[in-house]
Subunit: 203 residues, 2 copies
Amino acid sequence: MPDPSSNPAPDIAVTPVMKRSGHVVMVAAAVENAVGTGRLAELVLTHEGIPGDRHAGFLRPADVRVPWFERHAPIQNERQLSIVSMEDLAVIAGNLGIERVEPEWLGANIAVEGVPDFSFLPRGTRLFFPSGAVLAVMGQNDPCRIAGAEVERHLGGQGGLALRFAAAAKRLRGVVAIVDRPGSIRGGEGFKLRIPEQWIWQG
Amino acid sequence: MPDPSSNPAPDIAVTPVMKRSGHVVMVAAAVENAVGTGRLAELVLTHEGIPGDRHAGFLRPADVRVPWFERHAPIQNERQLSIVSMEDLAVIAGNLGIERVEPEWLGANIAVEGVPDFSFLPRGTRLFFPSGAVLAVMGQNDPCRIAGAEVERHLGGQGGLALRFAAAAKRLRGVVAIVDRPGSIRGGEGFKLRIPEQWIWQG
């Protein structure tokens, strides 16, 4: 019989921590209450996100994405920032049969390149930027009709694109993140990633 | 060649959302600055955790658990609450060759039973309590020497237990969580769990 102290944990395969790097293509912030964002040279972040942005704050009102909460009830804000990858946007564009999808159309705050399967980065992944800013990935972003309508608008109203967007962008829409350490992020700079241990709970 | 729009996402297996239920065995809060906690009838929670507790707050100072941050730098607080399972504590006790490990010795705020592999619940798991309180699991808790010393103290100073604790409790030490919706949690009540979609990022 094996010594129980040599095998204390359940028999669940744990994928070790991984470290990677990527490149910031652009940063952007909301323009008043528009869905889309506007490109900036630099994004300056506090612990609550982008100061003055409608997604800033430690808390946010519950919405249709979290139907188990009463609508508008204050909950922890996992959505201070939206981050997409240029590679995923190219796949969305291909799925829609259009030339390109710009990160600003989707309201992204940061667009990156060089990280494979970016939209699948697990919760708890940390992104480290040269200024000392650190972001924590809180989950996959969901495509929505509003973003689809914005894509359609930028393409001069091609009929039906808004409806097709959700399917075309599923699991390609990037991640949402919060600010673990304040700082600034600039287009053109590199960043490091720390992907935490991963496993599948079978329950 | 397959229609790309029918398979827009990378080929990563996604484990669907799961729903489970469990039972609260006891709740406890810190007693002044002691490591251990003291049992209560009810835990009353705000969005910042347990009011007045040293682990309360939207932010916390970085410590040895997150060595990539400057020590004491304020970071997002993922550790408002510590939750353990009676099943995992029984395995720790077995690994140490002692009769029992009480949740209070480890500074746990909530002890549960009925959830298999509790310490492996993935980040983003939500726990729903009858009052309307909802907790969000933020990660596996790490065993530490301090908790081990507390176990040793409760057992009258059996030599070496503190040192053996970290190995004996690895991946059995429960999870840390934050308060997504305020409310109260009571010993003896049931709760529901929502385990989010899971996958392994291979990068």
